[in-house]
Point group: C2
């Protein structure tokens, strides 16, 4: 009963909520923002700084040395910040995984835990229209369709680039995961039930 579930998810797919409900149903811990808190402790940055700067990589080739005109020293270049945050989050994820069965959302947890822990890696996705609809309903700062469409597009672009940069794999490529599930078609509750069944079947077999 030590299988860890990692959840990667398209923005607006409800993957975070599915993970939370699944953890509650299984009676195991759920880690999302807790990773930020622990990572901040690990690297000594303020929690808000970690939160603002995780997954900011924008696909521009990284600078070995920050250009002088940016006005920050090489040691404090953006790349340096992000790499420190990634390492601190990876450390947080590993320490949570050492605690036993849990659900971990985002932050390349599937990659961080690979070959170290027994994981069920899940990808939650949905068609664009379902995700925009959900974003309009749930997120206060994207209350109209145009804003929501832009947010869905931008967030997924960032997530894909971040994942690719650190793992060298394709974000959302089925072969990186053990289960990919379409929350737009199936709905949030059904996804929870299906993943619950997957966990019970898999974890039961490992005992």
């Amino acid at each position: 009963m030590d299988t860890i579930i990692t959840i990667s998810r398209q923005f607006g797919s409800g993957g975070r909520l599915i993970g939370k409900m699944l953890a509650e149903k299984l009676g195991i811990p759920f880690y999302d923002r807790e990773i930020i808190v622990k990572a901040a402790q690990n690297c000594g940055f303020a929690r808000e700084f970690v939160e603002d700067n995780e997954q900011k990589r924008n696909g521009i080739a990284s600078f070995a040395v920050a250009p002088a005109w940016i006005g920050i020293s090489p040691a404090n270049s953006f790349d340096n910040f992000e790499a420190k945050i990634f390492a601190a989050e990876a450390g947080a994820i590993e320490s949570f995984a050492h605690g036993g069965a849990c659900v971990i959302v985002g932050r390349c947890a599937d990659y961080v835990l690979k070959n170290k822990f027994d994981c069920l890696n899940v990808f939650v996705y949905a068609d664009s229209a379902s995700r925009v609809k959900r974003v309009v309903e749930v997120y206060k700062d994207a209350s109209d369709v145009k804003k929501a469409q832009k947010l869905v597009r931008d967030k997924d672009k960032f997530r894909a680039r971040h994942y690719k940069y650190y793992t060298e794999n394709e974000w959302g490529g089925a072969s990186n995961y053990n289960l990919c599930i379409d929350s737009g078609k199936l709905g949030i509750d059904a996804c929870v039930s299906i993943l619950y069944e997957a966990y019970v079947q898999y974890d039961g077999r490992q005992k």
Copy 2:
């Protein structure tokens, strides 16, 4: 209770067996070789000819007219045969779908039924080592590892090209399916239970 399950699968993943067991558990028909039989009736070719020539497309640009040196008339060019077989199989798949809930394996059924029937589209995959192991165990003509490795590689290449040619989508790309499931990690029986849960959840909601 009219949801149709289509199953695409990597060669050696056990996707066919999973589909068969799922159909039995749900008490609904299972269509695989039946598609060949019905397609042969539809297009007038012998069953063996349909079987030998479905999914033979090898990725070479298609000829509008067969080159003269091949020695067959344009009307009987290979492309012409394959297109006829594809159309006949599509017709067979649609007629089975009209009969209500069922499980259909392969032959781009997800694409053929799109926007016409309510489908749960499933992709079954597994890591290469699991598939080779299964092929060695199950297939008489690939009883050693080298043969099995070649068969796994070749069969998937054909399936991917065939799917791409007719649907213009990527075979195995998560967004074409509602559930992608790793039979290597989860095992055949667990996959059946998980897909059963998915069907019951989804189909129950549609009633």
